[in-house]
């Protein structure tokens, strides 16, 4: 039975408006990144009068964008790898074993998700400064401090998602692996991890996005040498001028790794995200 006209018209109108709303900033970002400075400083133009790719060359010179890029890549990459490995172990324990304190653990880990970041920004700042003073290990202002912080941000959600994924791998499979002589860790890495690859990919994408997009801790806990993209993009405004065309070009360039990765792995992320969320 075909849907009635009222439904089709409502759907068309709603989805058209929504698409416009979603794509408007994307259009502004792309079109403005191709305009000369006098054009982005004057009245907005829907259709650029002159096109130039110069901003894409200038962004690397106005601020050390390459360094920021490297910092973000190292920080987000390390946080992702560590977070995924730690989450795999934790989720395996929760999914396959019953032990005292299991419920306390899951509830505690999950509830840290509800705390506002601002709540532990200040104490963490104090801890890092004091560890630095006491031991000489520079956590404050270093990439290591940021990695340590970020990897815990995605951890609760990653563990939660992976528990759901591991639960869906039949127990018979790892029992069979154990009968064939695998230890518990052998069963985890030979059987469960390969079977849960889509979930692990989803978790990795989520962890990377979280770290790549974080602003608060990046702005307090970095210095000139360790600045990430989140803070670095503010460098395009000077006392007199904001180089909006360069801001837009840089925004586009820093978005490419995550948006590209996200769209490529979208299928995994969406199923992974929702498998955890709906349960």
């Amino acid at each position: 039975m075909a849907p009635p006209k009222s439904f089709l018209v409502s759907r068309l109108v709603f989805l058209t408006l929504l698409t416009g709303f979603v794509l408007l900033p994307v259009y502004v970002m792309i079109s403005s990144s191709l305009k000369p400075l006098q054009d982005v400083s004057g009245k907005f133009q829907w259709i650029p009068s002159g096109l130039t790719v110069q901003p894409y060359f200038d962004i690397w010179k106005t601020v050390p964008l390459g360094d920021y890029f490297m910092n973000s890549l190292i920080v987000a990459g390390s946080a992702t790898v560590l977070s995924v490995i730690i989450a795999i172990f934790a989720a395996y324990a929760v999914s396959r074993y019953s032990f005292r304190g299991k419920r306390v653990f899951t509830v505690t880990v999950l509830s840290t998700q509800m705390f506002p970041g601002i709540l532990f920004l200040l104490p963490l700042f104090l801890i890092y400064v004091n560890i630095g003073n006491a031991t000489g290990i520079a956590l404050f202002g270093s990439r290591a401090g940021l990695i340590l912080t970020y990897l815990t941000f995605s951890l609760p959600f990653s563990i939660w998602m992976l528990i759901g994924y591991f639960d869906s791998v039949p127990r018979d499979l790892d029992e069979a692996a154990k009968v064939d002589g695998c230890g518990p860790l052998g069963a985890l890495f030979r059987v469960i991890v390969p079977a849960a690859i889509p979930g692990i990919v989803a978790v990795a994408v989520y962890a990377f996005m979280t770290a790549w997009g974080e602003v608060l801790f990046a702005s307090v806990m970095t210095n000139d040498a360790t600045r990430t993209l989140a803070v670095g993009l503010q460098g395009y405004s000077t006392q007199n001028d904001v180089y909006w065309n360069q801001v837009m070009a840089a925004s586009l360039v820093v978005s490419l790794p995550v948006v590209g990765g996200f769209l490529l792995l979208q299928r995994y992320l969406v199923t992974g995200l929702t498998a955890g969320a709906v349960k």
Binding site: T108, F115, F120, P123, N130, S255, Q266, T274
Partner: protein, 331 residues
């Protein structure tokens, strides 16, 4: 097949249980089996403790101290101040308390509208896209773009669009449509609330959409077919089947959206910088400013603790209400 399998496993277990060695391996094996889950959890546990739980305890301790920048190098030596930070924070007639209270109300209002709109748009989009139609896959990808873009890149673009002199928004409403006498300011003054709301909804609704799409997949097709046989139209099916079936998903979704929106720091921070205009002064920015701009960490911590208590109470009440609603619905 079935006749060869049992002897094989039998031989293997017999080979492993050699006399003499058996009791020892069995005991250490059992010990290992009991401690293994804890070992696996250890890294996650240590990190959560170090980065979340210990800082929270320190935050609570600091909220009872007079911690200014002079004591930063050794915060333990900062003098105790008892409940001073708290009494300063909740004295709503004095400037500090008054500003906190107004920031709190702003955040509540903002959260209400943002969560409401995100939920509404996300649900509508998911319901409209439940059936396949041409272009559905592309549209779904487009709708995920706000979710995938890094916050600072997306929000900085919005900040550009809301510029008074060279932004798209004023170009449209002032130059093209002539709706205003002079181009309004969007990033300062009362309009900043609307600006923040627009950006927050743009960024937030795709998450609601994703979760709702997943919720819709769990509704069995047969229910719709049965309803169609009974003569129910599309709109009736949406009202009678789709929306009620989404209720359990809604309960989780709204809680998560509430917590994220209430605690959001990134959006106002990138949009307005370190000090937001009064109309859009969200609580997380307010606490950040109270701590890091005035270097008064004791007061900032007291505010954080109060915020946490508020969130715990709200979440508790919400969970209680929704679980009661659910059990009443089941009965």
């Amino acid at each position: 097949m079935t006749t060869t399998a049992p002897p094989r496993t039998g031989k293997r277990t017999a080979g492993r249980n050699q006399p003499g060695a058996a009791p020892r391996t069995r005991r250490s094996g059992r010990l290992r089996r009991i401690s293994l889950p804890y070992l696996l959890l250890l890294p996650a546990l240590v990190l959560e403790l170090l980065v979340h739980l210990i800082p929270m305890v320190i935050g609570i301790v600091v909220s009872f101290k007079e911690l200014t920048q002079f004591y930063l190098r050794d915060w333990g030596s900062a003098p105790w101040s008892g409940l001073d930070n708290y009494s300063l924070t909740v004295d709503f007639d004095a400037p500090v308390g008054e500003a906190l209270l107004s920031s709190f109300f702003t955040t509540c209002l903002f959260t209400f509208f943002s969560v409401g709109l995100c939920w509404l748009i996300g649900t509508a989009a998911a319901v409209f896209m439940q059936e396949t139609f041409k272009g559905r896959g592309i549209l779904r990808t487009i709708f995920l773009v706000p979710y995938a873009l890094p916050v600072y890149a997306a929000v900085i673009t919005w900040a550009f669009m809301f510029q008074r002199d060279n932004g798209l928004v004023n170009h449209v409403i002032h130059d093209q449509l002539g709706l205003t006498d002079s181009p309004p300011f969007w990033l300062i003054g009362d309009n900043a609330f609307v600006t923040l709301l627009v950006v927050s909804v743009w960024k937030g609704w795709p998450f609601a959409f994703l979760i709702m799409m997943a919720g819709l997949q769990n509704i069995p097709r047969e229910i719709y077919e049965a309803a169609a046989l009974d003569g129910a139209g599309v709109w009736q099916q949406i009202r009678r089947i789709t929306l009620p079936s989404l209720r359990p998903v809604n309960q989780v979704l709204i809680l998560v959206l509430f917590l994220w929106t209430f605690n959001d720091f990134n959006t106002p921070f990138v949009l307005f910088g370190k000090s937001a205009p009064a109309s859009a002064d969200l609580i997380s920015i307010h606490i950040y400013q109270s701590s890091f701009q005035t270097w008064n960490f004791g007061t900032g911590s007291a505010m954080s603790v109060l915020l946490l208590l508020f969130l715990l109470v709200v979440t508790g009440i919400y969970l209680l209400l929704t679980s009661r609603g659910r059990s009443a619905g089941d009965a």
